[in-house]
């Protein structure tokens, strides 16, 4: 699938912009590709965009936590990469276009959709984060002073 390759490239280059260390670039790109693959598969199964985005973000966030632990690097590196292909750019653009052309009703609808999609990404990260925190984070708990 060319899309997976495109998401991989897009993610890696965004990672470079954010200064992700060289050692983490390829795993980061894979996380992005995973997120896109999940999203693409689910939308082709006719699942709604919000649900697909949520599940894709969830998958990416879990992968990110796993990679972070394995490579002993901050999870942010991989979470960041996982959500890049999911950014609701097209919907946000549609909302702006509608507002500019005076179609306020559609603009509001698209804007709301953008909000939901962004919320779905955040919710995916939150869910994965809470789940992972619950699953034995004991050795990495904050040291009690």
């Amino acid at each position: 699938m060319v899309g997976v390759l495109a998401s991989f490239l897009s993610t890696i280059s965004f990672a470079v912009l954010s200064g992700v260390p060289v050692r983490a670039l390829v795993p980061a790109g894979l996380t992005g590709a995973l997120a896109w693959a999940v999203y693409f598969a689910l939308t082709s199964l006719r699942l709604g965009p919000v649900a697909s985005t949520f599940l894709a973000a969830l998958a990416a966030a879990f992968a990110a936590e796993g990679l972070a632990r394995r490579l002993k690097m901050p999870a942010t590196l991989f979470q960041l990469s996982g959500i890049i292909p999911l950014v609701p750019g097209a919907t946000a653009f549609a909302a702006m276009r509608d507002f500019v052309t005076g179609d306020y009703v559609r603009g509001l609808a698209d804007g709301t959709m953008t909000g939901f999609l962004a919320g779905a990404i955040a919710a995916g990260l939150v869910f994965a984060g809470t789940a992972v925190r619950g699953m034995g984070r004991k050795d990495r708990d904050r040291p009690t002073p």
Binding site: S13, F14, T76, I121
Partner: protein, 244 residues
């Protein structure tokens, strides 16, 4: 003490989460033989209070400029781990940290520009699946990134830079699409061009801060991300208003 502050400031300036900064400071201080540590970290400042043998010492440092350099976050993380394990002496740690403060970004500017180019191009392909969208979008992304990074790690005026980057980038993308002779699918091109400006790190750290219970920092970072997103939206709207 000074080292704790310095390590914390580097972390914060490079876009690390609050919990990570606090944890690193606490670990470093405890490993250096302090009895009790309290830290309070916000996105714009660090407070540290150390206690040793009945005496207490408090310092605070203000962090102005924030940029994104996850390499430094990873590196400080690594150094503090080694210091806690005892592989690294206090002097070595200090030396490494001050070296890091002057360290240039990991990737040279041309490579970052290339990354802006590629990320924009491949993202627009992701959206539309048309090869002809790639080049205009990539050009727009390049312009957006260059304008955004123009004045280097800026103080404060981040929103303005995102806005200017957005205007320049989307204008360039639209122009390139027009030269190519197909403005009808301009949407995918412009969206791709905005990708280098997306506040990805701000969003992820905001979520992580909120999750860790650092509500203050989480809200602050969330606002930062929202401001950037609004700046992009207004920039694109402006350009569209002229074009459509």
């Amino acid at each position: 003490m000074a080292i704790c502050l310095r390590a914390g400031a580097i972390l914060l300036r490079s876009g690390a989460e609050t919990a990570r900064v606090e944890e690193t400071i606490t670990r470093l201080a405890l490993a250096a033989g302090v009895d009790k540590v309290d830290t309070f970290v916000t996105p714009t400042g660090i407070f540290i209070c150390l206690e040793k043998g009945g005496e207490s010492l408090t310092r605070l440092t203000r962090v102005h400029a924030r940029a994104t350099d996850l390499q430094k976050v990873t590196e400080v993380n690594h150094l503090s781990r080694r210091f806690v394990r005892g592989d690294l002496s206090l002097e070595d740690l200090e030396e490494r940290l001050s070296a890091m403060e002057t360290m240039p970004p990991l990737y040279p500017r041309w490579l970052q520009a290339l990354a802006g180019f590629v990320s924009a191009g491949s993202y627009s392909f992701l959206l539309s699946g048309h090869w002809r969208d790639v080049l205009p979008s990539a050009l727009g992304g390049l312009v957006a990134h260059l304008v955004y990074g123009w004045k280097g790690g800026g103080r404060g005026g981040n929103v303005l830079r995102v806005f200017l980057g957005g205007v320049a980038g989307s204008a360039a993308a639209v122009a390139a699409a027009w030269v190519e002779g197909d403005v009808s699918r301009v949407g995918h091109v412009v969206v791709g061009a905005m990708i280098p400006l997306v506040p990805g790190v701000a969003v992820t750290t905001a979520v992580r801060d909120l999750l860790a219970g650092d509500l203050l920092s989480g809200m602050a970072r969330g606002t930062e991300a929202l401001l950037a997103a609004v700046a992009i939206a207004i920039a694109v709207g402006l350009v569209l208003g002229v074009v459509l």
